[in-house]
Amino acid sequence: MSAVRIIADILIGIGGIFALAGTIGILKMPDTFSRMQASTCIPTLGTVCALLGALLFAIFNKGDAGAAVKIAVICLLILVTNPLGSHALAKGAYKAGIRPEKKMEVDDLGRDLYGD
C-alpha cells in the first residue's frame, strides 16, 4: 500500500460518510423540502470526495489519463447540473400544493403567491 492508496481510501471514506448522512436525511426527515435539503449532501461533498479519491487512484496507481479525465468530467457534470434539477423540483413541488404537515413559521412565498 503506497501513500497515495491510503490518501485515496481516506477521501473515499469521507465521501461515504457524507453520503450516509444524506441517505439518513432522506429516510428520516419529516417533510418533502427538508428531505430535498438533506439529499444535497450526496451530490456535493459525497460525490466530490469520493471521485477525488478515485481520480488519485486512477492517476497514480493505474496511470490511465483517459479514465482520469472522464472521472473529472463526471464530477464537474454532477456539480454543475445538480442545482438545476433541485431548483426545478422544489419550485414545482411548492406550486403543485405540496406543503409540510407541520406548518412553516415563515412562508413568504405562500404569502406573496396565494395570500395565506
Partner: protein, 88 residues
C-alpha cells in the same frame, strides 16, 4: 483492490436504502428526490467498479447516468408546476 470493492458495495447499499423512500414516499416529489439520490450514488459506485475491473465501459455508463439524472428531475419538476396551473 479489496478496499475499493468494500467502498463500492457500500455506495450501492446506500443507493438501495434510498429506494425505501422511493417506494414509501407520499408524494411524487419525494419519490423523485430519492430517485435522484440513488442515481448519483449508483454513478459513484460505477466509477469505483470500473477502477476495480479495469473496464472503461462502466465510466461511459456512469457519465450517461449523471447526464440523464438531471433531465428526469427537471422534467418531473416542470410537470408538477404546470399541473397546478391547469387546475385553476
Amino acid at each position: 483492490m479489496r478496499d475499493l470493492l468494500v467502498f463500492a458495495i457500500g455506495f450501492a447499499v446506500l443507493a438501495a436504502l434510498t429506494l425505501i423512500r422511493l417506494a414509501k414516499g407520499p408524494t411524487a416529489a419525494d419519490r423523485m428526490v430519492a430517485g435522484d439520490a440513488a442515481d448519483t450514488l449508483i454513478c459513484i459506485a460505477l466509477v469505483l467498479f470500473s477502477l476495480i475491473s479495469k473496464r472503461g465501459i462502466y465510466l461511459d455508463i456512469a457519465l450517461v447516468a449523471a447526464l440523464f439524472g438531471v433531465i428526469d428531475t427537471m422534467l418531473v419538476g416542470r410537470y408538477l408546476e404546470k399541473e397546478r396551473g391547469q387546475d385553476k
